[in-house]
Structures are given as C-alpha cells and as structure tokens.
Symmetry: C2
Subunit: 330 residues, 2 copies
C-alpha cells in the first residue's frame, strides 16, 4: 500500500480541511495516510471510522507563512520537517504539504536529496489549455536565478513527468521566449536553447500565448519568470470576470442572460481554471515525491494532491528523468 506523509498543520486554515481531504481521498482510493502534526488535534478531527485507517506522527511545531524558509532545517519538531523525514527514511513514499512552500522545497531538496544529474529541483504546475491536455510549466518558483543547465534539466524533468505520470505519448517541450524564432531569447535562454536541443521532444522557442493553446505539453522557464507568468494569468482571469460582473450589474437583460449562462458556462469554466482540481504542484528532481499545495487548499485540493502523489509514486517519472539526463551525450 502506498504511504503518503501529510503535513496536517501547514495550511492557511489549520488541520480541518486537510483531514477532511484525507477522509475524502480514503473514500475513493486505498492508501495509508501518515498524518503529521498535533496528535490530539488530529485525532479529535478524525471521524471514528477512519482512526485505524491512518497513522499519526506527533509534531509539536508548525512553520508559519511568515517564517524564513532558511530556518526550516533547524525546526526539527515541525510537522513539515517530520513529514519530509518520513520520505527520507523510506517510511513514506511521498509527502503532501499545503504549508510554507519555501520550507517544503528546501527540506525536500536537502533532506530527501536530488536525483543524479539534477542541479536544482523545480516546481511544476499544470495550466489550463484549450488543447486536449493541460500544459506543464516549470519552474514556477523554486529557482529564481537559473543557469542554462538548470533550464535544460527542467526540460528533461517536464518531458519525463508528462510522459510517465500524465501518460502523454510524445510530450512536446518548448522554451519560453520573447518570440518563436530560434534567434529570439535573452542571454540565459539562448544558451539553454542549445542544451535543450538534446531533448527528444524539444520544439524550440514558444511564446506566452502558447501556454494555453495546446501547441506544446511542457514549457520551460526560470522560476522568476514562471512566478510572474502564473500571477499575471491569475490576474487576467480575475480582471475579466470582475469587469464582466461590473457590466452585468448595470443591465437587467444582462443579469438574466448571465443567469441563463451560469450553469452550463460559468460553472464549467470555473472548474476548468480551478486549482483544486489538481491539488498541487510536484517538486520535480528530488529522489522521491513531494506535492506542494497552495496554502488556501480546501479538502478537494488535498484529496487531489494525494491522488497526484499516488500517481507519481506509481509511475517511473524519477527513473525516466535520470535516464533522459544520463543519455545527454547520445
């Protein structure tokens, strides 16, 4: 049975939605949750029926969103430290955390360790697309200043993840740039371009709009650009719907029209851009599996993050990453 260590304390709303998510996941799939955090609180929130379906590891400390990620290594009694340690000691197959993402990334990288050939792990997220499949963008926040080699490794990790965990036959990998021509790019991406040519699936430079049009499966960028891209996209979606609401409010026919569109259009669209549908972003490049959920995760997000951790663990992603990077010279 797959064992998933879960930081029960880290989210913005405390342990409640996390434990609720674990319960929802157990209703659908068979796995062993190892809940890490305040034992009494966890047990008090857990329905009686589930008490012997989980393990609980007591942890007295919680790393707060305001804490520095760099202190994480010293906070050995924190729930996230102990959850990561379970993976390091092979007592769990994966860790899921909605807590301090910097702390989780630091601990996962340093305590679980990197895969061979990986200089820096990357955070990868699936973006909505009008194509058949979603597009994986990496890095979206682990490595702010990247080298060309980092970007090359991100490309290999993205290719491996989409093929092995998401079952895309021949993932197409693009390098995010300021134009699609080979000559485009900044100093960093121009060097990375040369290295990425070694990847089977590399299709060259792609533009911001290609994130959403299904033309590629993986988009590689540095973590600074990835963060901006993510928050810009969220900002645009919020703006479009805020403007729409403002105009709807001013007109009665528009109000009625919006009601008629609600169920079949707006509800479905919301689902399409709903982060809770995937639940979290995998940290690729570590010698294990860590799924990082956003702090405001609800039960559904946690449930889906657990399912993602299970799919990852059952797949050959890490083996494929190693294999792709060891064949670089081929």
């Amino acid at each position: 049975m797959i064992r998933i260590a879960i930081d029960a304390m880290g989210g913005d709303f405390g342990p409640e939605p996390i434990i609720e998510g674990v319960v929802q996941a157990l209703e659908e799939k068979s796995f062993l949750p190892i809940l890490v955090g305040d034992k009494n609180e966890i047990l008090s929130l857990l329905p009686q029926y589930y008490i012997n379906k989980v393990e609980v590891v007591d942890a007295s400390d919680v790393i707060d969103m305001a804490d520095q990620a760099t202190n994480a290594l010293k906070r050995k009694e924190s729930s996230i430290y102990k959850a990561v340690e379970l993976v390091r000691n092979k007592e769990a197959d994966a860790v899921v955390s909605a807590g301090h993402s910097g702390a989780t990334m630091t601990l996962a990288t340093l305590r679980i360790g990197r895969l061979p050939h990986i200089s820096k792990p990357a955070l990868a997220t699936l973006m909505p697309s009008i194509g058949k499949n979603k597009t994986l963008v990496l890095d979206v926040g682990a490595v702010t200043d990247c080298t060309p080699q980092n970007l090359y490794e991100f490309g290999a990790m993205g290719e491996a993840y989409m093929e092995k965990a998401m079952h895309i036959a021949h993932p197409r990998v693009g390098l995010l740039s300021n134009g699609s021509e080979d000559s485009k790019g900044n100093a960093l991406t121009k060097e990375a371009f040369k290295l990425l040519k070694n990847l089977r699936g590399f299709v060259g430079n792609v533009e911001g709009k290609n994130i959403f049009d299904g033309s590629v499966d993986v988009i590689v960028c540095d973590g600074f650009t990835g963060n901006i891209l993510l928050k810009t996209s969220e900002g645009v979606v919020t703006t479009v719907f805020t403007l729409m609401k403002q105009y709807i409010r001013k007109s009665l026919p528009a109000k009625i029209g919006a009601l008629m569109m609600r169920k079949k259009v707006f509800v479905n669209m919301k689902k399409e851009v709903d982060k809770d549908e995937y639940g979290g972003a995998p940290l690729l490049g570590i010698d294990g599996c860590a799924i990082i959920s956003h702090g405001a995760s609800n039960a559904k997000a946690i449930k889906n993050a657990i399912f993602q951790a299970m799919a990852y663990t059952q797949s050959d992603v890490n083996k494929e990453i190693e294999s792709l990077l060891s064949h670089k010279e081929g």
Copy 2:
C-alpha cells in the same frame, strides 16, 4: 501646428488603413500629417478633399516584417527611415509607425538619439485595469537583457510619462517581482530595487496580478519579461473567451443568455481590452517622440496613435525624464 511623420507603408495591410486613419484623425483634430511612402499610391488613396491638408514624402523602399532590424540603418530609401529622418531633422515633431517595430526602434534610437542620462530607450504599453486608470508597463520589448541601471531609467521614464502625458498626479511606480516583499526578486531586480528607491513614486516590488488591479500606475520590468507578460495576458483573454464560446455553443439557454449579455457586457469588455483604443506604444527615452503601433493596426488604431503622438509632443515628458534622472543624487 504639430507635424506628425507617418510611415504610410509599414503595416500588415499596406497603406489603406493607415491613410484612412490619418483622414479620421484630421476630421477630429488639427495637425499636419507628413505621409512617407509611395507617393502615387498614397495620393491615389487620399480623398480629394484632404490632398492639400497633408504633405507627402516619397520613399521607394519598405522594410518587411521578415527583414532584420539591424539592416534598417542601410535602407535609407525605406519609408520608416525617411519618416524617422524627418524627426531627426526637426521637420516633424513625432513619428508614427505600424511597420517593423524592431527597425523603428533601432532607427528612432540611433537617428533621433537618446535623451541625456538614458542608456536604453524602452517600449511602454498601457494595460487594462479594474482601477480608475490603466497601468503603464515598460519595457515590453526594446531591451531583452537589462542592467539594474536600465530598469531604474525605465522607472523614471514611466513616472514622467504618466504624470506629464497621462496627467496622473503622483504616479506610483512598482518593480515587477516574484513577490511583493522587499526581499523578493532575482539578481537583476534586487540591484534595480536599490536604484529605484531614488524615485519619488517608487512603491517597491509588485506582482503579476498588480498589473490589472489599479494598485500602481507604472510597472517596471526587463523587455524579455515584459514581452512574455504581454503575450501571456493576451493568451489568457483569448482562452477565456474561446472556452466561453465552446460552452455557449453546447447549450440553448446559454446561447440566449449570451445574446442578452452581448451589447451591455461583451461589447463593452471588448472595448476595454481593445488595443486600437490607444493605438500604439511610445518609445520612451529618445530625444523626440516615436509611437509604435502593431502591424495589424486598423484606421482607428492609427488615428489614436496620432492623437497619442500629439499629446506626447504637447507635454513635457522628455523634459521631465531628464529632470528626474539628473536629480538622482538628490
């Protein structure tokens, strides 16, 4: 009378929409258009009534979108070269071009020249916002690899433009980063942050979502990031409306609802994100005025680009840029 040199040949659709835009502008405001391009073609497209309201400068060559910007300096018979030269020789106050933007930027920078204290001019564009005013983002494509000093100058140029040309009382200037805390940023922005503190209106780091929420008036970034941000935003808008149409098509009530929302919601929203409403992006930092319109500009876009050139010329933007940067040590 303000004299505006207009590259009549450079747009994707040839001289027709450009001349139509000039005519529309003349119907509303008084200025002297100097149309540069194939004289016979221009005169054949110009309604009789307007023939003595414009000047025409003959140019036998056109720089194509496929041409290299670096060759622009040698193409002395091209419409854009001759249009820029009119500003250089003080025969025109500003130049408007929907042609090859790289060529226009190169020529404007090298032939018209930079303002004192400016190391690199930047392309600035207004982005839609749910705030009262639009947000100016720069650079969006002139300088791919920036130094901290470049970003500092961009900040000063943006502040000057919003204050003098857009009449915003105390423009707030933000530095685009991967988080709003002072400690966030990559190697480039961390250094730029220190310099930008010298600016009156500097409010610190801002995130991608702040482009659209009206929390700042100016957002500074390097041209690589700016290009990605622009194309990502366009991609998100396209995706949202494509998804919406797909869902609407599948449901009759939704179809009727969409019709009821059309006039008061969708038409207004389209206007809100319509690039043709501003017509072009000013190249800030040159010792003159150049407005760069997108290649697919229609008549309305050209008209608005001309109005923007007039407003720029009548304002003290360039003087203010100089003044802000000469007081750096204060």
